[in-house]
């Protein structure tokens, strides 16, 4: 069964605000995940400039041999991306659902500061 390896949420300036991995493949420590997130943010920005089509809003899907990376960018600049097994279906729907959950639980938390890392209660 197709599985998700990890989920990242980055704020509009490219900083990682949420990272969770869901499998032993590709597990990373905090520093590496921060680096990878800013890397993706930059690549996403560069792709908008490189695009031959005007009005490109960035990379939505990256397919590689061993994984797929689906990315969703909200109109406010927050990016949600998920690394999963190749061929996993309905990741866009998943990302949209995660966006809704983000708005319902993270943004409505009065103690959450905008653009800061999301803290899970332990």
């Amino acid at each position: 069964m197709a599985a998700i390896y990890s989920l990242y949420i980055i704020n509009k300036s490219g900083g990682l605000i949420f990272y969770k991995d869901y499998g032993s493949a590709g597990r990373m420590d905090t520093n590496d995940s921060l680096r990878v997130a800013s890397l993706w943010h930059s690549m996403h920005a560069i792709s908008q400039q490189l695009s031959p089509v005007v009005g490109c809003s960035g990379i939505e899907l990256l397919e590689a041999d061993t994984f797929d990376l689906h990315c969703f960018q909200s109109l406010t600049g927050t990016k949600f991306f998920v690394v999963c097994e190749p061929g996993t279906q309905q990741m866009e729907g998943l990302l949209k659902a995660i966006y809704e959950l983000y708005t319902d639980y993270v943004l409505k938390n009065p103690f959450y500061e905008m653009e800061m890392p999301i803290r899970k209660p332990s």
Binding site: I46, L107, M114
Partner: protein, 186 residues
């Protein structure tokens, strides 16, 4: 990927959790009353309400975008229509209308016939300069700022001051698209 159809304000309003309207009105009234007691100056209260609205707006916009599936608006006219028809409906349960477009399409008025914030409210003589619903102007300003539009939102007509409707003037100052610190030369 199938195109996502934007949902109508009614549909979203029906699907989100709602709170009792009187509770909402009374809570808002209590907030304004307390601000008046704490700050005493009507101008200060107006500014504070606008700031509170701004803080709400910056978070509200993501929820609005997530639930309504609207795509990027082509121009400011569409933005104003979406705010009036979908936004107000989704969050306050009332539909507003847009009118009074200026020649460039950067300034319009959003008119609310019905405003749940002001049920049961009367302004006493000591608070005549108060914009009771100033939080709404802050919300719109904050929300639009998060989608790269700097705007100025002011009240033109206010029923609590004797006019026949609530009219907000929304003026687009400038569009500020995301800036990346990458230089093209060198």
């Amino acid at each position: 990927m199938a195109p996502v159809i934007p949902r109508s304000g009614d549909a979203i309003f029906a699907s989100v959790e709602r709170v009792n309207a009187e509770l909402f009105t009374l809570t808002y009234g209590a907030i304004v009353r307390q601000l008046l007691t704490d700050l005493e100056e009507v101008e200060e209260v107006n500014k504070q309400l606008d700031q509170m609205g701004y803080n709400i707006g910056i978070r509200l916009v993501d929820e609005f975008l997530a639930k309504s599936n609207v795509s990027r608006c082509i121009d400011f006219k569409e933005t104003a229509e979406v705010i009036a028809k979908v936004g107000f409906k989704m969050f306050l349960g009332v539909t507003a209308s847009v009118s009074n477009w200026d020649a460039d399409g950067t300034c319009c008025s959003i008119i609310l016939e019905d405003n749940p914030l002001v049920d049961f409210v009367e302004l006493p003589d000591t608070c005549q300069g108060l914009y009771y619903c100033n939080v709404l102007s802050g919300v719109i300003r904050g929300a639009l700022e998060m989608v790269s539009m700097k705007t100025e939102v002011t009240w033109v007509r206010d029923m609590l001051r004797g006019d026949d409707a609530f009219e907000l003037q929304v003026k687009l100052l400038k569009q500020v698209p995301e800036e990346y610190p990458y230089k093209d030369d060198e």
